[in-house]
């Protein structure tokens, strides 16, 4: 799954996983910075580039005409995003926090893919991940609020280095829009998890796991 269980790293520092995974993109990309909430690309724009996160977090999302926002994915350091099978972006992308992103022209990659087998293989793998994430996500959206929140915490845990505690790198509103809930429901659910002793909050963004077994059980 996305759950690449990294061996525990009991650093007390914020997550930001260590060194940037030197993917194939690292060799040819141009670094660029995005401030909080800055747009990386917009829905329906031509998909000209691929992006790899060096630091920070990026969210992709789509808007419903009535103003609701569905966050499609969060990308963390090392993750590659902007992959589309078509030549137009299906969603918009924004920096959740100050972020550094490597940018590579799609045409360059596609050209290389012509003769360089591993590149085109990489593209397929990325597509496969996207598909799997999306399928997983639609499964999440039919669960109860508690299951969604627990699932989210576990997903974030699996993607960050620490196993005992994680840093939520996005505001509650983003979590709500990712899970298809309201911010109040997310907040209340977390409070409830704290009260039942399965997690503890050091700050509102920092979550300690006190009973991982119970969490897994709640993740029906």
């Amino acid at each position: 799954m996305l759950a690449t269980a990294a061996t525990a790293n009991h650093s007390r520092l914020p997550v930001r996983s260590g060194p940037i995974p030197e993917g194939p993109l690292g060799l040819m990309g141009t670094p660029m910075r995005f401030t909080r909430n800055a747009e990386v690309y917009g829905e329906d724009e031509p998909a000209e580039y691929l992006y790899q996160i060096m630091s920070g977090v990026v969210r992709t999302y789509r808007m419903l005409d009535d103003g609701r926002r569905q966050i499609v994915a969060f990308y963390l350091p090392g993750d590659i995003f902007g992959v589309e099978a078509g030549d137009v972006h299906l969603s918009s992308a924004e920096a959740v926090s100050e972020s550094q992103v490597l940018i590579v022209k799609r045409s360059t990659i596609l050209a290389r893919a012509e003769y360089q087998k591993d590149i085109s293989k990489l593209l397929w793998i990325l597509m496969a991940q996207e598909l799997q994430r999306l399928q997983q996500h639609s499964l999440v959206l039919i669960k109860s609020a508690e299951e969604r929140v627990v699932g989210f915490l576990l997903e974030m845990a699996s993607r960050s280095s620490g196993s005992m505690a994680i840093e939520l790198l996005m505001p509650r509103q983003d979590i709500a829009d990712y899970l298809g809930l309201t911010i109040e429901t997310v907040s209340r659910t977390i409070t409830h998890l704290v009260q039942s002793g399965v997690i503890a909050l050091e700050t509102s963004r920092r979550v300690h796991f006190r009973n991982r077994a119970a969490l897994n059980r709640l993740n029906a």
Copy 2:
């Protein structure tokens, strides 16, 4: 969006869009029949084949541990399914009704794709469609029951030939599991749409559109 408004075709015949689109698969496939509810493939099985529907309907779905079923997609005549970026199926596939399906070995296709450019292009297009469908679907799952049902009817309309009336080729339970609702809610919502005069039911499976504008308006 998915609603590719086809120019009207006032046939009174059941949907089953005309002749089978003679895709590249048509040239080399082996036909096979599946009875109602027969399994085409199962989740986690190796993805060895691609499938093209000749007649009937196939659904793909995933199960939640608590028994809930999330239908991922319905495939109608002409549609190709079984495309996975990885080499394992992420979902199971079953015939909704008696169906005829063309089957092609994946390895054959991939081999051809090596030197035959249009084949590998086709694969990308299919992936793109899957991605788009999935994204669309997760947007649907955060809408209200009425919006989901209306959206479903419009989606089915856009995929079938007739514009004034459509045949729902699957039972209510399948619609419910596709939309993340219960069968009762689907039924009640349809009844409500009938009462407000935007649709009419000839039989429970056959839907007449009486006020397309209103439908589009309800599809927030």
